[in-house]
C-alpha cells in the first residue's frame, strides 16, 4: 500500500525534527510544577485550613491572603493554624490567636465594634442620602415643567417687539 506520507504537509526535515522535539519536551511540563501539596491527612481539616486562612490578610504581601501568599510568615502562620485546627480549636479561637498578635487589620472582615461601625454602616448611609437627594431632584423637575406659564400681561407683546428691535 502506498505510504500516506504524501499526505503529510511539506515540512523541511529540520522543521519536522524541531516540532517533534518540542512535542516530546511537553512531556516534561509536570516537572515544572513546584510545591506539591502535602498529602492531605484529612480533607476536612485542609478545607477548614483554607477557609480560615483565606479570610486572613498576609501582612508581608498585603493584598494576598495567608492561604495564597508564599511569604515565610504566611507559611509559618498556615502551619500554626493547621496545628491549632488539629488540636481542636474553634475558628473563633484561631482568629483570636492571630488578632491578639497582629491586630484586627489581619482580618479581611473587620469586626463590628464601636470604632468600625462607621466603616460598616457608612456606605449604606451615604447611599440612602444620595437616593433621597435624587428623589427630591426628580420630584421637583416635572412640577416645574407642568406649571403653566404665567398669563401674559396685555402689553407684553408690545414690550417684546420693542426689545427685539433694540437688540437688532
Amino acid at each position: 500500500m502506498a505510504s500516506p506520507m504524501h499526505l503529510a504537509p511539506r515540512l523541511p526535515a529540520w522543521a519536522a525534527a524541531l516540532l517533534a522535539a518540542c512535542a516530546l519536551l511537553c512531556l516534561a511540563l509536570p516537572a515544572a510544577a513546584k510545591e506539591a501539596a502535602p498529602a492531605a491527612a484529612d480533607p476536612a481539616l485542609e478545607a477548614r485550613l483554607v477557609r480560615i486562612t483565606a479570610e486572613l490578610r498576609c501582612l508581608v504581601c498585603q493584598n494576598q491572603t495567608i492561604a495564597d501568599s508564599n511569604a515565610d510568615l504566611a507559611t509559618d502562620l498556615r502551619g500554626q493554624v493547621h496545628a491549632r485546627i488539629a488540636a481542636g480549636e474553634t475558628d473563633a479561637q484561631i482568629r483570636r490567636y492571630v488578632t491578639d498578635r497582629y491586630g484586627d487589620f489581619v482580618l479581611y472582615k473587620p469586626p463590628l465594634t464601636a470604632r468600625t461601625v462607621a466603616l460598616w454602616v457608612g456606605p449604606f448611609a451615604i447611599l440612602l442620602v444620595a437616593l433621597w437627594i435624587v428623589l427630591r431632584v426628580l420630584r421637583r423637575r416635572p412640577r416645574a415643567a407642568q406649571a403653566p406659564p404665567p398669563p401674559a400681561a396685555p402689553d407684553e407683546g408690545e414690550r417684546l417687539r420693542r426689545l427685539l428691535d433694540e437688540e437688532r
Partner: protein
C-alpha cells in the same frame, strides 16, 4: 439663609469633609500595622542565646529593667541600615539592648554580628520564628521597648532612624527609667 446659597454650600461642605479625610489618609503608611501588644504584657519566651546554645534567656529574667528588643536577621538587608545606629546607641548604655535573631541560621547570625558589630547584651535565637509570631513580627527589623513590669510600651517597624530615636524612643526611655 437664601436657599440658593445653601445649595452651593452643601456640596462644598461635603467636598471639604472628604478632602479632610483624604489629607489625613495620605499621611498614613498602609504598611505600618499598629501593634495590639502596646500596653499588654510582653509575650513569654524561653530561648537559647545565639552565642551559647546552652544558656536560655526567659522573659522573666528581664523583669525589673527597661529594655529594648531588636528583631534582626543576617538575611535582612534593612537591618544593616539601622545597625550602626544601634551599635552607637548600645555604647551609650542607656538601656540594655537584646536581639531576637529571627528565622536565621546560627553560624550566619554570628558571622553577621562579627562583621557589623554586636550591640546586644545577648541575641536570642528564634530559629522557627515562633517567638516572632507571638510578638507580631511581620517585617524585619522591628524594635520593641519593654518596661520594668514586662509591659510592651513601644514598637517600631522598620529600621530605626536617628529621628525616631531622638523624638520617640529616648523620651520614652527617660520617662520609664526616671
Amino acid at each position: 439663609m437664601n436657599i440658593k446659597i445653601l445649595r452651593f454650600l452643601v456640596p462644598l461642605g461635603i467636598f471639604l469633609v472628604l478632602a479632610g479625610f483624604l489629607a489625613a489618609g495620605l499621611k498614613l503608611n498602609p504598611r505600618e500595622v499598629p501593634s495590639p501588644l502596646i500596653g499588654k504584657a510582653a509575650p513569654g519566651f524561653a530561648l537559647a542565646r545565639l552565642d551559647d546554645a546552652a544558656q536560655t534567656v526567659r522573659r522573666e529574667d528581664m523583669l525589673g529593667r527597661v529594655w529594648m528588643l531588636n528583631v534582626w536577621a543576617s538575611w535582612c538587608a534593612a537591618c544593616r541600615d539601622e545597625h550602626p545606629l544601634l551599635v552607637e546607641f548600645a555604647r551609650r548604655k542607656v538601656v540594655p539592648v537584646y536581639g531576637l535573631n529571627y528565622k536565621d541560621a546560627r553560624p550566619d547570625g554570628l558571622a553577621w554580628l562579627a562583621r557589623f558589630g554586636n550591640p546586644y547584651e545577648a541575641s536570642l535565637f528564634d530559629q522557627d520564628g515562633r517567638v516572632g509570631i507571638d510578638y507580631g513580627v511581620y517585617g524585619v527589623p522591628e524594635t520593641f521597648i519593654i518596661d520594668k513590669q514586662g509591659v510592651v510600651r513601644f514598637k517600631h517597624i522598620g529600621p530605626i532612624t536617628r529621628e525616631v530615636l531622638q523624638s520617640r524612643i529616648e523620651p520614652l526611655l527617660r520617662e520609664l527609667n526616671g
